[in-house]
């Protein structure tokens, strides 16, 4: 259960560390160094102060902190020797269910990375898909040490921001959630298209995995966002709309088979905390989409 910011502000220093210390993996000293800076006006300020404590530490302390993290999709995760937070995070991108080839691929990337930089690869997996993790892993391996050290700290920022936001509620919450929504307009009839089946897929290599389904309501929207209440994982997606059924149910003849049946919209998400509104304007003979708001 989440603690209130007011409460966290008022705790004795030791209790504060006990309460939020594990937001930084195996590094309660970050919370200890931050306790005296209280009270914080916002949850965002609390998180930024903790990041400030980490940034103010010596390079040795920082490296030790990074080294305290498990390998991505590594044996430790399999065996259970990691914190529950890390475990949940890795599961969110499917890193707990890799096949043997994928496991080997991650293992090699991990070894190459640690050999080059001296600490494990950091990435905020809740902001990524398996594909984008692999892509960033390969790309960041090519960085020089200074660039990569900064990249690793930036990922620590994202990881700990999510942990703090999950643990403490109150004024000035950091923006950690994104939203993916859609809207189907029937511009043949001049009104929202109700009852249209919508499917969301995410790309994983050459395959597309089903992620969410919905049916449009009277306003042409799904009752809930297709993704919401969490960061949008960076990656490639496909939305599919059963437009052929919609026009058939309106009694419209657009050929046999109909010119449009399942309409796919293929797009990528690059801003996990953003709002992606991907609507479909359609007639039996045309359609349009755009990144809306």
């Amino acid at each position: 259960m989440a603690l209130t910011l007011v409460h966290v502000n008022s705790l004795p220093a030791a209790d504060f560390t006990a309460a939020v210390g594990d937001c930084f993996e195996l590094a309660p000293w970050v919370a200890e160094a931050t306790a005296a800076k209280r009270p914080f006006a916002t949850v965002t300020a609390l998180h930024e102060a903790m990041m400030g404590s980490l940034r103010a530490a010596s390079r040795e302390q920082q490296i030790a902190f990074l080294r305290g993290h498990p390998d991505l999709a590594g044996k430790a995760a399999h065996a259970g020797g990691v914190t529950p937070d890390s475990k949940r995070e890795q599961a969110s991108a499917g890193l707990d269910s890799l096949n043997e080839d994928e496991f080997v691929r991650f293992h090699r990337l991990n070894e190459a990375y640690k050999a080059k930089f001296g600490f494990p690869f950091m990435i905020c997996v809740r902001r990524h898909t398996r594909d984008s993790i692999l892509e960033r892993f390969a790309r960041r391996l090519a960085n020089d040490s200074a660039t990569e050290f900064a990249a690793a700290l930036q990922e620590v920022f994202y990881i700990t921001r999510l942990r703090v936001a999950a643990k403490v509620t109150g004024e000035g919450m950091p923006q950690v959630d994104g939203r993916l929504s859609t809207h189907v307009l029937d511009t043949h009839a001049g009104r929202p298209a109700a009852g249209v089946a919508v499917e969301l897929y995410v790309w994983a290599g050459e395959r597309m995995l089903p992620l969410a389904t919905g049916v449009t309501n009277g306003d042409g929207r799904t009752d809930r966002p297709l993704i919401g209440g969490r960061p949008l994982p960076i990656g490639r997606y496909e939305l599919r709309f059963a437009i052929g059924n919609h026009f058939r149910s309106r009694g419209i003849d657009s050929g046999d088979p109909p010119f449009l049946d399942i309409v796919p919209l293929r797009f990528s998400i690059a801003e996990p905390e953003g709002h992606y509104h991907v609507p479909l304007l359609c007639t039996p003979w045309s359609y349009a989409t755009y990144r809306g708001s």
Copy 2:
């Protein structure tokens, strides 16, 4: 090599039958019955007169004519006991390269069809994909005899129209060819998108098979139609446009990964002799398509 209509009009009756008799499978009597109606002002009129001779024949003759056709994807086709025209036509929809399951499926449909109607299933395969043939086969099996007899003659009309048009040239050719074309407009720059890779796929069951590729020229079009010079096979298709590369080459940043990369347009063709123009209007953040002209 094609004969001219003028020449065909002037041939002695026996030579006329020898020249065009095989447009109607194993039924030179159709040409014989048509010879005296010459001269014809158009190739279309020649074909219609031959169809008229078939329609004027007795029901027994018509049934015999239908029975003279090979099974679709049948053993006779495999073994070679069919006319070269029939063989080429069946190959055009891939009916000469079915796997064992498909072969069995066709065999069962053929048997059920012949048991019900007393003649083999007629369909102008050059106007169809494998999927649409299977779909029509199942649908027409449910017809009553009179409806199905008319449907079979309509397919004979399509089959023989293509054969006559291939054999005789001259005034008033029947419209037997369709055209599938595309056009890519970059509405971000306000000009055609040149150099965009375009791929055309056709659906075959759950798979999509590559059918044609092209690259847009300075006017945003492919140099040749994606399909042309033949009937457009009825079926489901997907066009894919490498839009991400186009905008990347223009130096435009639309996120990492870019919002749009490969844009798929999925549509069906229902009019084999029609013109399907399926353009793409796009920016890095939006696109639209429609059946154009």
Copy 3:
């Protein structure tokens, strides 16, 4: 000030008539006949019951009621011999500021109408523009008596519904307001267009009269609907968007002069209680609009 439905339900009959009697022009007997049907669960039910009392009256009473209304844009309105409600309503469509020609035109229509039907022309002017009033006036003059009597009562329904909704608040308010809104999306940048000047005009004959202005906010919308909190007057409109300035401020060159500068969208409103969302999707080289939701 509005009365609550609860209060209106509980008033002695005479006070009820005093409170809501003037919703029906010069016809307190309608309220008197309705008082005994109380209590009403909704304001909509109250209004419908009053209409029921009118419909249950004799034809003579109904005709007398219709005759109690002033001429549209007539001398009585000029001279002040009408109820304040009628006066405000006529002003809303500009009928209090006609020029001499228009006044004459209305006078002739009024005389022809009364000569034919025996009562003045009824129309709910708050649901109309001057143009649509003239158009309906001419059209309804051609009706037969029965059709026109029904049309007149339908307008009484609209007029009194607005009066009841203005006078009584509570559960189940009738839907009497419409909404006209817009939204500007810059599909060149993939985000809402902020700071775009928007102007709304209404057609009056050959001229367009300015009606409202706005500037889009960070979400590409105007802070308030262009028309809201009242019925949308039936008529022709034009929205104008200063798109040229928007793209110029983004430093985009689209020619000299720019291909698009002021973009006009011309449309009509036919459903006064509806929601008309008329967005603009635009790049420097293209735009699209639709009736959205």
Copy 4:
């Protein structure tokens, strides 16, 4: 009547000068200086060589040449003391039919310009509308001498290119004509919209003047371009499409009045030798346009 390039190449020098000398206003010496450079492989090369002769002349000769041109919309033009070419060109932008205010405005601009630069304002009026001439006039008055001298020579280039292209035909004609075309697609029906009335207007100050009308044919296009066979005058335009009538004739109800009736597309032309294709994709409830090709 036009001369052929072959013929012009073969003429004695004096006859060459007599033939093409008047392409440069009152300056046969330009042709004289060019005669010895013949033969030219293309008409474009002939024109460029003549421009080269002008550019190679002394500044005094060039200034004298510029001074040989009449004032734009000046008294000389009114009185007849200018060459027929100049007269026709000025008429093409309506400069021969200015009202008194406009005449005074041009007079003041002419005087200010000559006082500052020492020669009359040069502009290729066939590439402009009255509005764009006034706009450029005011803008160029602010130039420094060197910039404006270059601008004047560029206009001489445009003026003489048109004259040479009108006088000499043959290989390698310069591109002097533009084209404005349209296309109406009914995306509700999935086919071109035939029989749609189209009107083209050009802006002149606050008014719009009718310029051309057409009706779409079976392919949704006008039989001829809306402007063609000449440069497209730089300026602001409006196309109007009678879309309401089109959908009414198809029996489609989109409200009373219909949501869309006359659809205006307002755009500017900045490239006189370009192709502007401005299509309309529409349903009864939506439309889109773009600069196409």
